[in-house]
Every structure is written in C-alpha cells, then in structure tokens.
C-alpha cells in the first residue's frame, strides 16, 4: 500500500510540474460550461424538460474535463517509457499494478481539483443542487471514477503504442463517447440512431447519475446504475492497462 501511495505522490508531483498540460484542459471545460449554458438554455422551455439547464449541462463540462485529465496519465506513462524510468520502476519490488495505476489515480485526483473548480463556478452562476452538498460530493465521486476509467484507457493506449502522439490520438475515441449521448438534451428527446447510440453508450448512465443528484434528488436507480457503470468501466480499462504492461514487456513473473 505504501508503494502505491509513493507512486501516486510522485505522479502528482510530476504532473503539477507541467501546468501547461493541465490549465488548457480546465479552461476548455469552463468554456464549454458557459457556452453551452448560454447557447442552449432555451431547452429549459421545451415541454417535458424539468429543472435548470445549468444543472443539466454541468456534467458535460465535468466529463469533458475528465477526457483531457485522463490524457495526463497516458502522457506520463509515455514519458516514463521514453525516458526508461518505467523499466527502472519495474526493477523495484513495487507491484506492477501500482506502477501502472499510480499515474491513473494521480490523473483522477487532479481531475477532482478541476471538477471542484467547475462546481464552484457553477454555484457562482446559479447552480442549485437538489441533494445539497452530499450531491455535489457524489458528482465529484462520479468524476473521479470516470476519470479512472478514461485514464485506464489512456494508459492502455500509451503502453500499446509507446508513442506520445499515438497515445494522444487514441484519446480522441472519447469524443464520440461524450457526444453520442444525452449530452445536450434528455434521453427522451432523442430519436433514431442517436437514441440507440446513447442507450448503448455507458457515458449516458454517468450523465443520468450526475443529473439525478443535481436535478431531482437521490434517485438510487439512476445513481446506482451510474456508479455500477463507472466502477465497471474503470475496472475493465485498468485491467487492460495492467495486462498491456505485462504483455508489452513480456515480463518474467
């Protein structure tokens, strides 16, 4: 356990030494929040829409921050692979799970910082949480876990391609996940292929879980399903990343 904490701390420290990799990500998420809220808040007036559009769109800003935040984990692994430090860590008694998950957890922790900032800005411009502060904390938990899920995928891509540009390009796969969903309007308003895509897309259930606590209350069906999806996806992508680390280095046991 100590080694995991040591490696997470190291990843955090190194990531914070490159603020240029984090600041644009926060900026673009805040930009999304303001632009989508200003441009699309007329959705509030559509029959069948209940609640505030700000609370509806806030999870989109948060999950877009998660996309960029996850990239941090991939970039760090690529840097470690390129510098050879990854091999150095593999030669210590540290468990490989800690070595691969260290950057992922660090990326998710950094994401929490960004999410808190977005939430504070949201509160300033009039966000009201239907479940109060505990609900806001639940949003942070969702963001952390979804950040882990994305970071697992980014780490997998980094370990597979061992190349910064390719690992970065692989994270483009996040965008369909983010936008082929109930991103801008509720699921009921969607129709045709987009509705099918949204139902298949796990991101939809993360949105629904966050929106439940922000807009309606502790709807445990939505929240529980959302949590199940984020925990399941994070476990899956994290396992893929570890498997890739073992496979690509063909380590002896």
């Amino acid at each position: 356990m100590t080694e995991a904490l040591l490696l997470i701390r190291r990843s955090l420290r190194v990531a914070l030494r490159q603020p240029a990799a984090i600041i644009p990500n926060v900026a673009i998420s805040v930009f999304f929040l303001f632009v989508y809220n200003a441009g699309l808040n007329a959705v509030e007036n559509l029959p069948g829409f209940e609640g505030s559009y700000l609370a509806f769109i806030l999870p989109v800003a948060i999950l877009s921050a998660a996309v960029g935040g996850a990239g941090v984990a991939g970039q760090e692994l690529v840097r470690d692979l390129e510098s050879g430090y990854f091999s150095k860590l593999l030669l210590t008694p540290a468990h490989r799970l800690s070595i691969v998950w260290g950057p992922m957890v660090a990326a998710a922790i950094l994401l929490v910082g960004q999410v808190v900032l977005i939430l504070v800005l949201g509160l300033i411009i009039g966000l009201h949480s239907a479940t109060g502060v505990p609900g806001l904390l639940m949003v942070v938990v969702f963001a952390f876990l979804w950040g882990m899920a994305f970071a697992g995928y980014a780490a997998f891509a980094a370990l597979r391609f061992k190349n910064a540009a390719a690992a970065q390009a692989a994270t483009l796969a996040f965008f369909p996940l983010l936008f082929l969903s109930s991103t801008f309007v509720p699921l009921e308003f969607l129709d045709g292929w987009l509705k099918v895509a949204a139902i298949i897309n796990p991101t939809t259930y993360v949105f629904e879980g966050m929106r439940a606590v922000l807009m309606t209350g502790w709807d445990w069906r939505d929240v529980g399903l959302g949590l199940l999806v984020v925990v399941g996806t994070a476990t899956l992508t994290g396992a893929l990343a570890v498997r890739e680390a073992v496979r690509s280095t063909r380590l002896a046991r």
Partner: protein
Amino acid sequence: MSSPADRSIVVENLTRCYGDLCAVDSVDLQIDSGRIFGFLGPNGAGKSTLVKVLTTILAPTSGRALVGGHDVVSEGHQVRSLIGVALQDVGLDPLMTASELLQLQARLFGHTPEAARDRGRLLLERVGLDDVPAEKRVGAYSGGMKRRLDLALALVHDPAILFLDEPTTGLDPVSRAEIWTEVRRLNRDQGVTIFLTTQYLEEADRLADEVAIISRGHIVAQGSPEELKREVGQEVISLVFAEDEDARQAEDVLGQLDGSRQLAGRELLVYSAKAAELVPSLVRRLDAHGLVLKGLSLAQPSLDDVFLRATGERMEEGDDSHLGEKVEP
C-alpha cells in the same frame, strides 16, 4: 543489507528471439560470486538482450538463467531484490531531482523515510553529485551526471549483483575513469559480482576478471583477457595496404612464411611468436611482388584481435580508437 552467499550467475542454453531473429542464441555462462565479468561485443550483438533477460525485464524464449541462485522466470521477485541494474539507456525521469529519484527508489526497496534520505545523501556523495544544487532537475544534467546518478540508483539497496549495460558508452575519459574506479571499489570492498557489458575492448581488458565475447547472439570466446590474448598468439604484425585486393594478394604471397594470418579489409594481420624477426623478410617479399605498404605496426594482441580471430571481423569501426570522442553534452 544482508550479504547472500550466492552471488553467482548461471546461464544455461539460453535463447531469446524477437520473431525469427534470435538476439541471444543458446548461450551458456557461469560467473562465480565476486567476479567482474566483461561481456563484450559490437552494437546489436545481443548484449543488452541478455542483460534484460538476466534482470527479469524480458522473459527468455528458452533455456534457463539463475541469478544469485534464483530462477529469473519463476523467482523474478527474489532476483530483483538482489540485483542493481544500470541499463544502457539511463532510466531517469527528467522532471524529478536527483534526491527525489534516490529517495523514491530507496522507499520502494523498503527503506524508512529517514533511512531513504540518508541513503540518498550518501550515494550522491559517493558518485560525486553532492555539490549539484538540490532543486536542479535531472533533465538539466549532462550525460555523465545522468550516468553517475543512474549508477547511484542501482546501488540504493546494496545489491549483491550489479548489472551495468555499457556504463561508459558516450562518456568523456574523465567520467569513464570515475565509473571504473567505483566499479572496482564495489567489487573489492563489498564483494559485489559485476556483470558489465561493453563495446570498448579497453574497458573489458582493464576491469574484467573474465570476458566473454558475443557476436550475433553467440558466445565466440570466453576466458580471462590474458588467456584469450595468449590464444591468439604472442605478437601481431599489422600490414595496411591501399586496396583490399592488395591485402588479399599479400596473404597469398606470404603464404609460406611462419605465423598465422587474418585478413580484415585492406589490413592483413600476421600472428607470430617471433614477429620482430619476421618483419624484414616479410617486407622484402612484399616488395619483390610490387605490393606497396601504407602502414606497418607491431603490437601485443588485444581483445580486438581475439574478436577478429573468433568472428573474422573487426569490432565496429573505431570502437576503441574513438574512446572519449563520442562525448555527450
């Protein structure tokens, strides 16, 4: 830390292939505890691959290797706790400082925070980096400083067996000499078994108790540097011509003379117990056949001659003569 009695390395019929290409092919080695073993070969001969297998980074394709008595495949964890490794490409995070790297490494090997701090300070002093500003990130270090820090990292847990993969490639002569001094000290004072790969003949000659020469994945010669050189012959006459063809003709012309011969491009080497006595008759005979010499020298055999005799080729052009010229900034 503890001093395990078994510091040996045993390699049995070990092969490691990448697809169809076998970088290490049916290699056998036996290195006793407390020796400095020089593993010599040109670029791409398979040195680094063998080091990666012995240090548990790569699994072998077939065969077996024991490091400190532990199997590198089934007992990788025990092997890793015994060995220190400085790979050819130094593995340092450029965004961290030297003491951060050393302390993290020491903590991962189980030191307490206080012990890790002390260990870091001691090792920085030992590799001569204690006067570098503490906040300086490793990315700003010179090539020589990075090598020394990498060596310090390999020593964090007092390893019983140390693997150094081309520890001085690209270093200036001063840094190279410092690394050599430290390697000898570790071996003498702490009884550390040292497995050192190098493409510098001089390095193997000066440091190693025993040398193996690898070429294209195969061990082509093994023994102490003196034994190997004795096997080649007593003295070497090097005859250099303007063209490869001249050297080939000279080989025919000198056919009946005493001593054995080896052709290498436009150079012809003659090995003989009485080389000095042979020179006049040799020159006369070449002259009689109109073969013009561009250069002639007489020398004791080097490990390069051993390599040439074993493989029919010189080690990569200029590996020795370029000592100290390929200096990293």
